[in-house]
Symmetry: C14
Subunit: 81 residues, 14 copies
Amino acid sequence: MIEGADLIQAAAFLGAGLAMGLGAIGPGVGEGMVGAKACEAIGKNPSEAGLLTRTMLVGQAVSESTGIYSLVIALLLLFVV
Amino acid sequence: MIEGADLIQAAAFLGAGLAMGLGAIGPGVGEGMVGAKACEAIGKNPSEAGLLTRTMLVGQAVSESTGIYSLVIALLLLFVV
Amino acid sequence: MIEGADLIQAAAFLGAGLAMGLGAIGPGVGEGMVGAKACEAIGKNPSEAGLLTRTMLVGQAVSESTGIYSLVIALLLLFVV
Amino acid sequence: MIEGADLIQAAAFLGAGLAMGLGAIGPGVGEGMVGAKACEAIGKNPSEAGLLTRTMLVGQAVSESTGIYSLVIALLLLFVV
Amino acid sequence: MIEGADLIQAAAFLGAGLAMGLGAIGPGVGEGMVGAKACEAIGKNPSEAGLLTRTMLVGQAVSESTGIYSLVIALLLLFVV
Amino acid sequence: MIEGADLIQAAAFLGAGLAMGLGAIGPGVGEGMVGAKACEAIGKNPSEAGLLTRTMLVGQAVSESTGIYSLVIALLLLFVV
Amino acid sequence: MIEGADLIQAAAFLGAGLAMGLGAIGPGVGEGMVGAKACEAIGKNPSEAGLLTRTMLVGQAVSESTGIYSLVIALLLLFVV
Amino acid sequence: MIEGADLIQAAAFLGAGLAMGLGAIGPGVGEGMVGAKACEAIGKNPSEAGLLTRTMLVGQAVSESTGIYSLVIALLLLFVV
Amino acid sequence: MIEGADLIQAAAFLGAGLAMGLGAIGPGVGEGMVGAKACEAIGKNPSEAGLLTRTMLVGQAVSESTGIYSLVIALLLLFVV
Amino acid sequence: MIEGADLIQAAAFLGAGLAMGLGAIGPGVGEGMVGAKACEAIGKNPSEAGLLTRTMLVGQAVSESTGIYSLVIALLLLFVV
Amino acid sequence: MIEGADLIQAAAFLGAGLAMGLGAIGPGVGEGMVGAKACEAIGKNPSEAGLLTRTMLVGQAVSESTGIYSLVIALLLLFVV
Amino acid sequence: MIEGADLIQAAAFLGAGLAMGLGAIGPGVGEGMVGAKACEAIGKNPSEAGLLTRTMLVGQAVSESTGIYSLVIALLLLFVV
Amino acid sequence: MIEGADLIQAAAFLGAGLAMGLGAIGPGVGEGMVGAKACEAIGKNPSEAGLLTRTMLVGQAVSESTGIYSLVIALLLLFVV
Amino acid sequence: MIEGADLIQAAAFLGAGLAMGLGAIGPGVGEGMVGAKACEAIGKNPSEAGLLTRTMLVGQAVSESTGIYSLVIALLLLFVV
């Protein structure tokens, strides 16, 4: 027999899957854009490679944040809740 | 037996997953656009790297806001409600 | 047993998740466009960085508004209703 | 037991979430386009910054209108109906 | 017990949410295109700012019309029907 | 108890919401394209502003037609049927 | 009690809403493309405005046809069937 | 009581709505492309307006064909079947 | 009472609607591309109008084929099966 | 009463509709691309019209293949199975 | 009465329709891209038509492979399983 | 009567159809991009046709891999499981 | 009768199909982009073909990784779980 | 009979499939963009191949992260939970 606690757990697991699956689309594409433009810029101006790599990493780190939020929500749905 | 409180909790968990999963798409892509253009601009004009990095971070921070709203709603759905 | 009040609450939680999740897509992408063009413009014309940052922030603030509306609706669905 | 009034209320809450969530996509993206082009134009022609900022705000205000309609419908679904 | 009148009301509320939510996407994006091009044009030709703002507002007003139709249908679904 | 007439009415209301909501996407975007190009053209050739505004309005009026058809169908679903 | 005739009528109303709602997307966008290019062309070559407006209207009229087919099907679903 | 013939009729009506609604998207957009390019071409080369209008109409007529097939299927679903 | 043959017929009618509705999207857009490029090419090189119209018609005819397959399947689902 | 064979047949008919409807999108668009580029190329280089038409037909024929596979599967679902 | 074997068969038929329908989208569009570029290249460099046609056919053949996999899976679902 | 083993089998067949159908979209489009650029490059630089064909085939083979994974999973779902 | 273990197995099979089917889209398209640009670059600069092929393979290998993760999850869902 | 623990397990498996399947789209496309631009840049500036390959790998590694998060969530859903 299905108890209410089971339904909650099932919903939490489905929700975790959706949160991480959908939440990986945006940052994945966004970070790719940053990396693509960084490669292009370094190819044109290699003497600034260090500066550009640093900028790329900072830009990607911020874009990564929403992916990490998704991870946090998914982990909370799996373990804490 | 499924009680009403269980249905509410299940809906809250699914809602949290959707809020964070969908809510990470927009900021992830948007911040990627900002970072991409910042890398391009620094590659062309490296002497303004500090200024451009600052602008990039400000622009990304605002774009991040809707991602943080999604995180807040998801956390509220998990813990407070 | 599922009471009507439970169904209402469950619908409110799902609705809150959808409102914030979907509502974060548009502003996130839109603000990213503004920030991207601002970085590009500052890279070309750094002497107007202050003016451009101000314009960027104003433009993003207006674009943010629909994200904030979504937040308001989601919070109302969570707490007030 | 689920009464009809509960079903109505649940539908109103789901409808409010969808109205605001979907309704924030268009204005968010549209206002971002306006802001992006305004930044670009100011970067090229900074002496007209005041004029361009004013035009940007007017253009965004009109684009905002459908977002506000969505907010109105969502609030009506929450409180008045 | 769910009466037919309740089902009708619930359908009307869901329909109102969908009508306004979906109906805000098109005008929001379309008006953004108009405003974006208007900013671009004023930046290139500021002496015609008045003429261009007027054209922008007329173009946006027509594009707004389908958003207003959606608002009308949503309000009719909420109050009159 | 749900009568058949109630089901019909509910379907008509949902259908009206979908007809207007979906039907506003195309004209809204299409009219925005027309208005955007008209602003661009006037910015380049302001002496033809009257002619271009007229053309824009004619082009938008035709594009508006499918939006009006959607409004007609939605109103028929609400009141006449 | 729900009779078969009620189910038919409900399906016809939903079908009418979908036919008109979806059917307005294509012509609305397509006619917008025609109008946009016509404005652009008139801006470049205003002496041919009459010819271009005529071409625009003919091109839009053909594109309109599928929107009218959708209207016809929707009206048939509402009244004749 | 719902008879089988009613289910068939309901499916036919829903099918007719989907056939015409979806079937109007492709031709509507495609014909718009043809008309847009024809306007552009006439603006550049007005002395060939007759030839270009003829080509546009032929190209649109072929593109229209799938829209007409959709109309035929929808009408068959409404009346003949 | 719903007999199996009724279910089959209903599925065939829904299937016919989907086959023709979806199947009209691809050819409609594809033929529009062909026609658009043909108009552009004739505008640049009107002396080859006959050749280009012929090429356009051949190219559209092949692209039409999948639309015709869809029509065939839809008709088979309506009448033969 | 619904027999298993009826369910199978209904699934086969729905599957046939989906196979042909979805399967016509890709080839229709793809062949349109080929035809569009062929028209463009002939307009620039009419002396190679025969060669280009042949290439176009070969390219379209290969692209057609997946549309034909869809037709085959749909026909098999209708008649053989 | 519906036996398990009937459910399996129905699922296999629906699966076959989806496999072929969805599986035809990618190769159809991809092969169209190859053919389009081949026509463009031959138009510019007709003396290499044989080489380009061969390259086009090889490129399309590889792209075709996933379409053939889909056909194989669909046929297996129809006959072998 | 439906046994559990039947449900498993039905799910496996539907899953196989989805795996192959969806899994053919990405490689089909991706390989088309590779082939398109290879044709373009050979048209510009025919003396390197062998090298470019080899590169194209290597690039397509890697892109093909995910299509083959999909085929493997689909076959496993059909026969081994 | 359907046991719980059957439901689990069915869900695992559907999940495996979705994981591999959806998971093949991203890498397939992404690797295609890499291969396309590599062909373009080799066509322009054939003397660096070895270096470019190596870069292409490295870039594709990383992009492949998420496809392999999907394969691993699908295989785990089929055999280990 | 279906126990609650079975429902939980089934939801976990479906969630794992969705998390990995959807989560592979973003990184796959994003890494492809990085790799594509890296190949382009190396083709133009082969003397910086080492630097560009390093930048590409760093950029792809960050973009990969959300794919790895998806893998982690999927594995947790399979084994730990």
